[in-house]
Amino acid sequence: MFGLANPERFMRFTGPLTPWLWGAAAVLLAAGTWLSFTAPGDYQQGDTVRIMFVHVPAASLGTLVYAALGISSFFALVFRHPLADAAARAAALPGAAFTALALITGSLWGQPMWGTWWVWDARLTSVLVLFLFYLGYMALRSAIDDETRAARAAAVLGLVGLINLPIVKFSVDWWNTLHQPASLLRAGGSSLAPVFLWPLLTMMAAYAALFLAVWLTSIRTEIVRRRVMSLRARAALEA
């Protein structure tokens, strides 16, 4: 595992892996979409239950990707490892996209079920704060010209944002909210009927495969970009 911290070895290992991840994501997305639209409507929520199949995977990935960003930031900050920094940087945009999707699809689900697009309750607000952390991370990176300083400042912000993750996860248990409590990861197993559980798990696997494919591709791109920068610097020195 630690061997992959070497950029050359990382490129060699992820080169053949990435096309398989793209393929897995495409197959799982197709299967998940089919299962989502062949499942029956919920007896209480009707067809709005189908929003769950895109909302829950986006919300889970939004949180998990931030955990990946935070851990990578830790390694980048403590060990000053360029690959860890590249991993953190590459996770920011997909993470922000998943969190934005969770907020938008949640709003579209909330209106017919709760009678409101938005409410300032603990879960929704903490997810909005998570989205702002992503935006802050990306803004900070692009605001500082010196890449080393930008990486360090962004890594500190990435680490600070980790505090928000348990708040997102347990907000529905700690406070009274409109949002329902956890129905997948909870003591006693999932409370979802299998007819909804399988499409949801398939879509979650599809989102995870898609994220991994995008993440690995972006880390590889970042390694290539740094190589280009060093070649440009070398050419400028020789000129």
């Binding site: 997305l29 089919w34 639209f37 062949t38 029956p40 409507g41 009707g46 067809d47 709005t48 189908r50 929003i51 895109v54 909302h55 986006a58 945009l93 997909p94 996209a97 934005a100 999707l101 938008i104 699809t105 579209l108 689900w109 209106q111 017919p112 898609l210 494919a213 995008v214 591709t217 972006s218 590889r220 791109t221 290539v224 970009r225 190589r227 280009v228 070649l231 440009r232 070398r234 050419a235 020789e238």
Partner: protein, 71 residues
């Protein structure tokens, strides 16, 4: 059985799926396009670098052969 009739919630279900598909497609397209652009640039710079690295060798060979040339 495939069920695409979302009445009376079509105005909520389809936008949720549509926006999700659009955002995921944009993420994939961006990752692929940016990756190709940097790979192309690396290839261009490497071939340029190779040409500059070769130039002194050719010059040195030319100089050596010039020295070795009988008068």
């Amino acid at each position: 059985m495939l069920d695409l009739d979302m009445t009376p919630y079509a105005a909520f279900v389809w936008p949720a799926w549509g926006i999700s598909a659009l955002v995921l497609a944009c993420l994939v397209a961006r990752a692929v396009v940016v990756s190709r652009r940097w790979k192309r640039e690396l290839k261009r710079l490497e071939s340029e670098q190779m040409r500059t690295d070769e130039t002194p060798t050719i010059r040195a060979q030319a100089a050596r052969s010039a020295i070795a040339q009988p008068e």
